[in-house]
Amino acid sequence: MIKSQRINVFQHVPFLRGILKSRLFQPVLTLTTLFFFTLAIVTGLFGTPVGNRNFGIVFVWIVWWGLLIILLVPFLGRLWCAACPIPVPGEWLQRRGIINRRQGRLSTLRWKFPKRLRNMWLQNFGFLGIAIFSAIILTRPEVSAWLLLGFSLIGIVLSILYENRVFCRYVCPVGGFIGLYSLMAPIEVRVADPQVCATHTPKDCIIGNEYAYGCPWMVFPGTLERNTYCGMCMECIKACPKNNVVINLRPVGSDLMVAKERRLDEAYKAFIMLACALLYSAVLLGPWGWLKQWANMDTLPHWLIYAGVFLLANLLLLPGLFTLTALLSRRWGGVQVPLRQLVTDYAYTLVPLGLTAWIAFSFSLVFTNGSYAFGVLSDPFGWGWNLFGTTESAWTPFGSSLIPFLQTGILTAGMLFAVNTAYKIAGQHTPNPRQALRGMLPVAGFITSITFVFLWLYLG
């Protein structure tokens, strides 16, 4: 039923297939972003230490972040991963080339990535490890540059040890939440007819052929049902001799209902992202100076307390409250589902809520501070250059009267989507609609309460 709601974009925009089949498609994207990425690192290392006058801070944490969370992830899912410059040097080393498909196997040591790490846990802890230093990373160009450089180096090392994009799939802290939130995207790379794949034994999309590499994300498109681990690199579109891989438009959030692939590591990603959105809103956008100082490591004991509370809130408090909610849901709904499964299933209701919470947070961050971009465009290092005549452009917050209304609107939309998703997930636990409704009520209460907290932080 849901598959029938797909629109094959290639049928309506035929030339798009040609563009995506071109081996230039991804290198054009990555070479462009790599230029800005390198500039961000160089300006971070050698430019002014004043964050809002440094290209490395303004373009990464305001411009890129705003584009990513407000536009790219909600509308295009993981497409950023196809353009991301971080794993690119490692991938070029593996392929011994940039554009053309070189024949033969990838140049790596062919180690096997440990099975127990083939999940999102590394990404969860990596994200938290960065998040507790966020007040420093977001404001110190040099620290930010070392972090970006570190990501790239890890990407290169992992590319030497393992085949394909192990870094993107299992390690990248950004890729983890992009993957989770791409479940919401109205776009997907899928096969048009799974039967064609089932009967086509060569499996070019996995092993590659003369036109394309095998899927760098280690995914078989023939059975792909969710966006989470598809990096939208389009290699499968190039590889498929049957032209069976297509881009579909689809209803928003379709992947949330794919029950069989739900996992606790992804559920925890949903908890962590929601808790971080709450904490960032309080620390960075709130009026509490002492909290900012603690996050900014004014003294080590203060920061240790801050980091401890931050981690507790992410790993225990929010998941704990949600587990109690799931317990209540099981009791009210009268369903016989193991608690762990119930928590995991219902955690996917936090995907729409978390995504819209991050969008609401970013409205404030980006609209208020976006005007710094004009200055750093002309003077990326903060050395007094004036390349485009915009160095002296004044800081001008944009739409400050409008932001609370946008935040209320987007949070309400996310909450309603989350509550509706809770009802549908409850429907997977019982055939009785009344039972499902009773079961989802505690989850709806949890979602609404969290929305109230966001509204209090932004408007209260």
């Binding site: 809002n52 049902e225 794919v258 009026p287 900012k292 209320t408 609609p433 609404t448």
Partner: protein, 170 residues
């Protein structure tokens, strides 16, 4: 007969949505009375890296506020969201800022002069009561979620699809 039942079912479902919309419009437009007469208040606001003291100021709609703005450590600025008022102050100097609170809600004041690493996040809050936008947002969210749950209740499973766990609905 079956068609009539379907029609009533649809009316019931859509009646819930219509009621929700009407209730939503009411909570968004219902006039909230002013509880206190306007006053003139004088407040000292000190800026230091990376906070304002006080970090939150409560006033009422119509109040005239005179802010004596000082800086304790380095040069700081004051920018009030929604009002566009901007001022700059050096340590040891007091600048006077006058605001007439014409609109209710929370308005952030920010440092507008680059003052250090956390400068973009140096924020205070001016809350003009009664905080209509906040309470209306709470009411709007509440009405929305109640309407959705009522819709799910009255739809009696027509918007409901049971899928067995372990399989994809696709």
């Amino acid at each position: 007969m079956i068609h009539l039942q379907k029609l009533f079912g649809l009316l019931r479902q859509h009646g819930v949505i219509l009621s929700g919309i009407i209730l939503g419009v009411i909570v968004m437009t219902f006039p909230i009375p002013r509880l206190t007469d306007p006053q003139t208040r004088t407040i000292t606001l000190d800026a230091r890296q990376f906070e304002f003291a006080p970090h939150r100021i409560h006033i009422n709609k119509g109040d005239r506020v005179i802010i004596n703005f000082t800086a304790s450590d380095v040069v700081h600025g004051f920018y009030l969201d929604g009002y566009g008022i901007q001022e700059r102050v050096e340590p040891g100097v007091t600048k006077q800022i006058e605001i007439v609170a014409e609109r209710t809600g929370k308005f952030r004041y920010r440092c507008s002069v680059s003052c250090g690493s956390l400068h973009p996040f140096m924020i205070g809050e001016l809350v003009v009561g009664p905080n209509e936008p906040f309470w209306r947002a709470i009411a709007f969210v509440s009405v929305s979620v109640i309407t959705l749950i009522a819709y799910q209740f009255f739809s009696k499973g027509t918007s409901y699809e049971h899928t067995t766990l372990g399989t994809s609905p696709a």
